[in-house]
Symmetry: C2
Subunit: 230 residues, 2 copies
Amino acid sequence: MDEEVTAAGSLDLAPVPRYDTLTDRTYQQLRSGLMAGSFHPGQKLTIRKIAAVLGISATPAHTAMSRLVSEQVLEWGPNRSAVVPKLTADKVRELYVIRLALEGTAAELGAPHFDADATDALERTQLALVAAMDRDDYKQVLLENEEFHFALYRAAGMPMLTQMIQSVWLKLGPSLNFLYPAYSHSRKGVHHHTMAIKALRAGDPAAVRAAIESDLRDGRAELLRALAGH
Amino acid sequence: MDEEVTAAGSLDLAPVPRYDTLTDRTYQQLRSGLMAGSFHPGQKLTIRKIAAVLGISATPAHTAMSRLVSEQVLEWGPNRSAVVPKLTADKVRELYVIRLALEGTAAELGAPHFDADATDALERTQLALVAAMDRDDYKQVLLENEEFHFALYRAAGMPMLTQMIQSVWLKLGPSLNFLYPAYSHSRKGVHHHTMAIKALRAGDPAAVRAAIESDLRDGRAELLRALAGH
DNA sequence: GTTTGAAATTTGTTATAACACATTTCTTGG
DNA sequence: CCAAGAAATGTGTTATAACAAATTTCAAAC
């Protein structure tokens, strides 16, 4: 055994073979689908249909959906089917109260860990976001925006905090994709992101927080406006 | 059918017949057990044992545990068994960053909805907490403390926020019960609760938030001290 | 006594099937 | 043509069993 251990030690293995179960994969696929807009609010998701699409049995599909309902990413509909929740104005306001509290904190705590290289990378993400806007590539805008925010939050080195923020995004995702079928994003967000980068370069965490909070408040206003229009 | 509806409308039915599945019940029982200290950090929970204790099959036990792992209330141990996580100082600091952000917000937003009657009820909870302290009834102290905090948070009328806070408590629960086997709670918490009640009577939400935040900071210091002692 | 290796046990995971319940569809009677 | 009821379909839920992988136990050899 000694020899094998030594040999293995010299190999450059993947970080973790990370054996994923079918349940985990299903859960992740549903999450991606919800963030990417593959499902629209009000849509009913049945266990057997998902199992059929993914070529698996009912058990892992049921477990994965049960997780999402438990996180309130999905809701129980009639006959205990899972449905993608429709956002109400009240829910949006509540979710943004949570976002402001958590993301404001994460941004402020992540800022001190952002060195010049990381800030450069963030700026490149921001350029990609603007480029996607110019192309009216709305899906890509959402992806770059997500990358921008979470790069900042991850820097805080608080995985549980990051996961909680992701859970909130997941509740907003389907409606974001639903309400903006055509490009409709205001350009104000660009300004706030630029302010955040400037504050990072100035080494001012409080200003980073303020920039992110302004960004969120603008997004909230826009979302509420879009919701009222429907 | 018209007649039946009319008749049912006059009946005083239970709020919701609320048919609970075995999965939901198992999930709730595990949550209660974790908060009540029935499991200690490091303990391994196996699907078959839980299924046997509850007299159910593996499927609902597996689904319920899968939910808890997904929430990071439990962790994967060796051989993919679920284990009750041991808190580290880093995790405690992170969890209290989250608590300060979420519970500070919930307290401040709940305060304006607290009328005189609700404040009286809160004071009675506080009296029960002190009485439990005098009896060295530690488990009851924890229960009354939970009641105190969540009565305030629930008043904000934000169910998703409340659930997120509960999720954080669930991560601290097992270690709280583990680290305080004998009574060791400082009396400083009493002071902060009293300050919160005073601020509620004065109609000063910011002061309520400050009182709760001080309460949390004291708790964090005590928990870190106890953790270092182990 | 210690170590080695194989057998036995225990583990999570998942497919299948059966169940109860709700919904939908179809048929039958007016 | 419409209404009513029955049959068929679709639904979530859960018990069971089989599988693979890890762990533990135990016995045999040195």
